[in-house]
Amino acid sequence: MKRRSFVGALMTGTVISALGGAAYVLADDEEERKARTALRPDGRPRLPPNQYLLKRLRPMGGDEGDPSPSGWRLQVHGEVENPFTLDFAGLLAMPQVEQTCDVHCVTKWTVLGAAFSGVRVADLAARANVKPSAHHVIFEAAHGYTSNVPLREALAPNVLVAHRYGGTPLGRPHGAPARALIPDLYFWKSAKWLMGVRFAAEDHPGYWETRGYHNHADPWKEERYG
């Protein structure tokens, strides 16, 4: 093949791939159209802008932690009067919440009606007796991963330390034995392999936030990048 025809073929292939990818991205099925028009109780559309639907969570990688329930500990600390550490049995002994919620990944997939069980962060905060000086919550996970959430949003009733998904204990790729769940922010905030909930007076941008992602991560405002 001559160089000129090779370069021509390469460019044609690139254009076809790009157009095919764009057509795939722009294709919208019936379920997605419904989700775009359906509204949540707070008036926002069920499917945030530029998201597409998936049936189940994707693992999305991460530096996996120890999935052992017996070795798991959750440290609740920082700007609190009564810091404490929970083991897995202790987590299960706290009031349990079962909820179905929608989760939205910054890579544009959304899962509607994901069923999680766990303990409300608000209940952990109440037990720790958070000081008035606390304004942020830092979710601390294995290998130094962190994500930061404003206190007001971390104490929302749908924010959990979750240990079950889809009716079974949390799988390894999803952060077993327990992860954070903050459904109304992009899913990177929901730290997997959770090891600590730290209440902080000042904001401490987390792993992705210090790598160019948005500090807040509201899917309806498309706060993807900082």
């Binding site: 530096d63 052992s68 329930p69 544009k108 079974t168 204990p169 790729p173």
Partner: protein, 210 residues
Amino acid sequence: MPIRGKKNAMAEAGETPARIAAPRSRKRIHWRAVLRAVHRDAGYSAVGLTFVYALSGLAVNHVADWDPNFRNSSEVHELNTRLPDDDAAAGKLVTERLAIDERPKEVYREGDQLEVLFEHRTLHVATLTGHVVDEQQKPRFFLRAANWLHLNRGKKAWKYFADSYAVGLLFLAGSGLFMLSGKKGLFGRGLFFVSAGIALPVAYLFWARG
């Protein structure tokens, strides 16, 4: 002055006649040739890490479509039996019935659920019915290691290797600009391709309002 074909005192002392006789050459060092040589050798030494970073980059770039570190699978088994109350006995029964040779790292009971953990496998067992969800993770041989390096999971010294590699790439890109002269060099077709390479991301930034 040495005499051709005659042994002399200096040669006896270790100097070769040829060396002594050679006229002092005043070869000019051509900077472009040196640049090409250095570029070539830097390029050779960058091959390994380029494969690591490029393949890992492709893998991680599509993290939404697949798990770049593990092959994950999930199977359901029905043991159709109630499990013993003793954790060790229950774990043994499950592993025997599923013909698993590996020894569990941990058997953990939470209510009527038993978790049997292995190195890269977890069995979620309903103790009352014997319903088992068998989750397995098989590490991807090359990619897991490449991703580990690419994402600098190891921290510490790797940061300096990665920095050196990045500086090396900057050198390769910079020296590559000046390797050729003439109409195939930077001020010929090179200018077109370099401009195109810069224009593409700039155009994307404008288009995506980045």
